[in-house]
């Protein structure tokens, strides 16, 4: 993964709502190729967030999504079944503090936007997911004063729940989370944890009251057909961008397809069942 050195961008794909039900399936066929791209870029005013939608022969014109005086970086996004864009990212101020923020588009009305209170000054690498009930989830890593830990929160309609550490407290780094759905629709968090012998991928599932069942995940669990799908569907990135993130798309048959961030599994993707 190249974070710095070749471009100034951090990029995230996210898919548009591609299928709205059996009746709309045909009409949505053209839209099935459309992906939305969100990235952070410096165009002379500091790092802001931009977006573009895939068109027939490439990416459409980019528009500025978020424009603030501080550095807006490491965006992640998804689209709910109502077509609303959910965006989470980090705002890093000049003192080096990094706050977690969110924005939920309201389809033409003023978007809902604000800070997700984590309780910590240093927050990293947020990701976002909509579950089958339409609830938004966000996961991220925070430096707690002794190590990086992974936390998650869910949006209940009024606001974000209190952050919940997804793993048992420990003194080792737990970083770079990823949100996905299990085969039976449970929200699961996968992340990298430094343990004796190096980094391992861990995963927990939400059981309605908490995250349970921490286990080590093997790479091959995730290596399914999405990689080829995205390679075929996604046009080359705009020149100032580079791939860093994940893709979430909804395909005919309501199969949710997610791309795993390359920090979890480099350039591999998974297909929800």
């Amino acid at each position: 993964m190249s974070i710095k050195g070749r471009t100034r961008m951090a990029v995230l794909f996210c898919g548009l709502l591609l299928w709205a039900g059996p009746v709309a399936a045909a009409a949505a066929a053209d839209a099935a190729d459309a992906l939305r791209l969100v990235w952070a870029a410096d165009r002379g005013q500091g790092f802001d967030l931009f977006t573009a939608v895939q068109e027939k022969n490439g990416w459409g014109p980019s528009t500025r999504l978020v424009d603030g005086p501080e550095a807006d970086i490491t965006p992640a996004c998804t689209v709910d079944q109502g077509g609303r864009l959910w965006l989470v990212w980090i705002v890093r101020d000049r003192e080096g503090r990094s706050q977690l923020r969110y924005r939920i588009d309201a389809l033409g009305r003023k978007p809902r936007e604000g800070r997700i209170v984590t309780g910590f000054d240093d927050n990293y690498a947020p990701v976002v997911l909509i579950d089958r009930e339409g609830t938004g989830w966000v996961a991220w890593a925070s430096y707690t004063g002794s190590s990086d830990d992974v936390f998650a929160s869910r949006f209940d309609g009024a606001g974000w729940s209190a952050p919940l550490r997804v793993h048992a407290a420990n003194d080792q780094p737990d970083v770079k989370p990823f949100l996905s759905l299990s085969g039976d629709g449970r929200v699961q968090v996968t992340w990298l944890g430094l343990r004796e012998g190096g980094y391992q991928r861990f995963q927990v599932q939400w059981n309605g009251t908490g995250f349970l069942g921490e286990r080590v995940v093997a790479d091959k669990t995730w290596e399914q057909g999405m990689h080829k799908h995205l390679r075929r569907k996604a046009p080359p990135l705009p020149r100032e961008t580079r791939a860093q993130g994940m893709v979430t798309a909804f395909l005919p048959g309501n199969r949710e397809i997610q791309a795993v961030p390359d920090w979890v599994f480099p350039l591999t993707f998974s297909e929800g069942r």
Partner: protein, 232 residues
């Protein structure tokens, strides 16, 4: 008595010869890190494969400095463009198993600080240092160079914080430190290619910064047999 002295003298000469051979042995120096170690933009994309000078950014100059100082060394380049310290943790054991160097120059972290705290970068580097020490090889640690390319992402503070931790790590482990940040920051605008990677002059400064701790460690290693002889 004379025969005994002659035998003793002969034995000493044999030992000195063995020591001289040890001193003259070629030292393998592996350089591990990201695109700055690989030598971007000058020898990119030749990277991560152990290539030897003229491949690299600071490596050719470092090797020539050490050769000029009478140290027979081969500096190998294992820099990987875009590598993070987590990547370094993942590959250090297999790399050292395969290459068996005497010295390992570790400098990484530039690619991490958008996604990891300085503390985790420090932990990852410490893992690589300890993996090197566990093999009986000699690590030398480099601080993260300045970064004006990404200044608009407000990364200066985490770079400074990480370097404080890395200096402490070198002290704690009793290993050599090449403080590239300190060597480069005062004249960074003239020593950088685009704000992130050094230019040729910057890589030369880095080579000189590596030189002192590496030269000192080679001296320590090569003088040890003489010390052992004296102690015997």
């Amino acid at each position: 008595m004379t025969r005994s002295l002659t035998a003793l003298l002969f034995a000493v000469l044999l030992l000195l010869g063995a020591v001289r051979d040890t001193v003259a042995a070629r030292f393998l120096i592996d350089t591990v890190g990201d695109s700055i170690t690989s030598g971007y933009p000058y020898y990119w994309p030749i990277e991560g494969n152990g290539c030897t000078p003229p491949c690299g950014g600071y490596q050719p100059k470092l090797q020539s400095l050490l050769l000029a100082a009478g140290k027979d060394v081969l500096v190998r380049n294992y820099g990987v463009r875009g590598a993070s310290t987590a990547d370094g943790v993942a590959r250090i054991d297999a790399l050292l198993d395969a290459t068996t160097p005497q010295f390992v120059l570790i400098m990484e972290g530039t690619n991490d600080l958008l996604f990891l705290s300085p503390n985790t970068v420090y932990r990852n580097i410490a893992y690589m240092v300890d993996a090197t020490l566990a093999r009986g090889e000699v690590p030398v640690l480099g601080t993260i160079p300045p970064d004006s390319y990404n200044a608009v992402q407000n990364l200066n503070k985490p770079i400074v914080e990480t370097n404080v931790l890395l200096r402490q790590l070198a002290r704690d482990r009793g290993i050599g430190l090449a403080d590239h940040y300190a060597a480069l920051v005062g004249n960074w605008s003239n020593l950088t290619y685009e704000g992130l990677h050094p230019n040729l002059a910057g890589y030369e400064v880095m080579a000189r910064t590596w030189f002192t701790p590496v030269h000192d460690r080679i001296n320590a290693m090569t003088s040890l047999p003489w010390l052992m002889l004296l102690l015997d």
